[in-house]
């Protein structure tokens, strides 16, 4: 179990999920959708 702590486990996974989502959306808007719009 990550960090042997359920609170830190939730904290880490949720943080990673939100940052991951932001990066994915940013990359999609910058590199995929913009190319498609051109």
């Amino acid at each position: 179990m990550l960090f042997e702590s359920w609170t830190m486990e939730w904290f880490s996974y949720l943080n990673a999920a939100i940052i991951g989502w932001a990066v994915l959306v940013y990359c999609y808007r910058e590199f995929v959708k913009r190319d498609a719009d051109c």
Partner: protein, 489 residues
């Protein structure tokens, strides 16, 4: 530390200069504009500034001073609980902000009390709804503003070596000045500057902590002190059951979506801004600031003999950072408090100068320049009222005052602002819901020992039920609206 007081004064006066300059520059946005210029920044906010002001306002001084103290005492449950504000803000921006912005734009609403009134009808009853919403907003947010002025005054006093009253007067004067100059544009732009400082502060603290001790070592040493610090069997201080901490997520969502001083930001975006562009910025900013309570766990490991948990952040700054760096970080913590205080001041003054004025004098034909003068005057008046309240109010716990103001306002507004987005009631339901939320949440917080999340959530539940029940009971056959449909007034 005394040798560094000159540096602290230089930092403070330099930051004041920049904040006032931003206020002056943003005053151009509202020059020659109608009331929307002052109240919603002329609907001019882009994704970055919009995200900056949402995050800066949502993360008050609590995140930097109160939360590390709770993490010192209760451990990682506070790190998780405080973190939920980040996803909650992202969800509110993604799934509620656009609806509120479009609906307010259709109705021509410039404030949340005005939106509440216009959504629920027109004429005399709408004026009653707007007036009551404005008065409750002014009263409750003045309580919150008082706590923020005191917090910023206390920190500034120890940082600058002056008295609490002098420090509080100095800070609130500058906030009044730039808010008067530029209205919400000044508040949003200064918030964005300040959230950048807050982010840098969070980053510096994390670098210092994790170059001194690895995450795994921090975990091991906390476990050695007390395993409950990492694997709590309850969610104390959030509640008795292990899952209570997850209630912070819906609480923080409603906090962002419903509270007038948060939700008014959604009305201020440029019409062309897409909300996912805003959320992309809110996510990293929120996640970065949510790391700050880790300071409390670090101090527990490195400095376990503190007399009071609340001293975790001051002890960290004085023990583990160079005094010059500690001075800079203290400035950023002051930023966290000021960025909330300026938003509160702008919202209470808007409620008085716009909502209450138009509720009492609906046929007023004041010119734009006169309305701007009225708006600016109320910023000064209510800023000074907040300062006087701080001087003469009983010495309540600062965080509790903040919860009393914001949590109770949450219960007041949930029906008319949030429930109305998918089931529209009428003016009677809105009035009854606001009063029920006020009494229920206020009573729980004032007269019982329930947790600070639970009291407002019980108030939200009661307010929502009353909103629907009273709307149904008082609906005439002609006024009944189908679920999810709106009638433009």
């Amino acid at each position: 530390m005394e040798n560094y007081e000159w540096l602290n004064w230089t930092l403070l006066l330099g930051s004041f200069g920049i904040l006032i300059l931003i206020g002056y520059l943003s005053s151009r946005v509202i020059k020659d504009s109608d009331a929307a210029g002052f109240l919603v920044a002329g609907r001019s906010l882009g994704p970055f500034v919009g995200a900056g002001t949402i995050v800066a306002t949502g993360f008050s001084g609590w995140g930097f001073m109160g939360s590390p103290g709770v993490a010192y005492e209760f451990g990682s449950i506070e790190v998780l609980g405080n973190f939920f504000f980040a996803p909650a803000m992202v969800i509110a921006v993604l799934y509620f902000a656009n609806f509120l912005r479009k609906r307010a734009d259709e109705l021509g609403s410039c404030t949340i009390p005005e939106y509440v009134a216009q959504v629920h009808g027109e004429g005399l009853m709408a004026r009653w709804v707007k007036g009551v919403a404005a008065v409750i907003t002014i009263v409750l947010l003045l309580v919150f503003l008082t706590s923020q002025i005191k917090a910023v005054g206390l920190l500034g006093a120890s940082w600058l070596g002056i008295s609490l009253n002098d420090s509080a007067l100095l800070m609130i004067s500058v906030i009044i000045l730039y808010t008067m100059l530029g209205g919400l544009a000044a508040v949003a732009w200064t918030d964005t500057l300040m959230v950048s400082g807050m982010g840098i502060g969070a980053l510096v603290m994390m670098v210092q902590i994790f170059t001194d001790i690895s995450p795994l070592e921090l975990i091991d040493r906390l476990n050695a002190i007390d395993p409950e610090l990492l694997n709590p069997t309850t969610s104390a201080p959030y509640g008795e059951s292990k899952g209570s901490v997850f209630l912070v997520l819906p609480y923080a969502f409603l906090f962002t979506a419903v509270l007038p001083y948060m939700a008014v930001r959604f009305l201020a975006f440029k019409p062309t801004v897409k909300m996912h562009q805003v959320a992309i910025w809110v996510a990293p900013m929120g996640c970065l600031l949510s790391l700050v309570p880790i300071v409390g766990m670090y101090v527990r490991v490195a400095h376990p003999e503190l007399a009071q948990a609340d001293q975790a952040m001051p002890a960290y700054l004085s023990t583990f950072l160079h005094p010059a760096l500690a001075g800079v970080i203290t400035l950023f913590i002051l930023f966290a408090m000021k960025s909330t205080a300026n938003s509160l001041l702008h919202t209470v003054s808007s409620a008085a100068s716009h909502d209450l004025r138009t509720a009492l004098f609906p046929d007023s034909k004041a010119s734009n320049s006169r309305i701007l003068w009225i708006n600016r005057s109320w910023v000064a008046i209510l800023g000074l009222v907040g300062f006087l309240m701080m001087l003469y109010a009983p010495p309540f716990m600062l965080s509790w005052l903040g919860i009393l103001g914001s949590g109770t306002l949450l219960a007041v507004m949930i029906g008319p602002v949030f429930i109305s987005s998918f089931w529209r009631g009428n003016s009677y339901g809105a009035l009854a819901a606001m009063l029920t939320g006020l009494v229920t949440s206020g009573s729980f917080l004032l007269f019982t020992q329930v947790g600070w999340v639970e009291g407002p959530l019980y108030g939200c539940l009661a307010s929502s039920v009353v909103y629907v029940a009273v709307s149904k009971l008082t609906a005439s056959s002609t006024a009944t609206q189908p679920v999810g449909r709106y009638r433009l007034n």
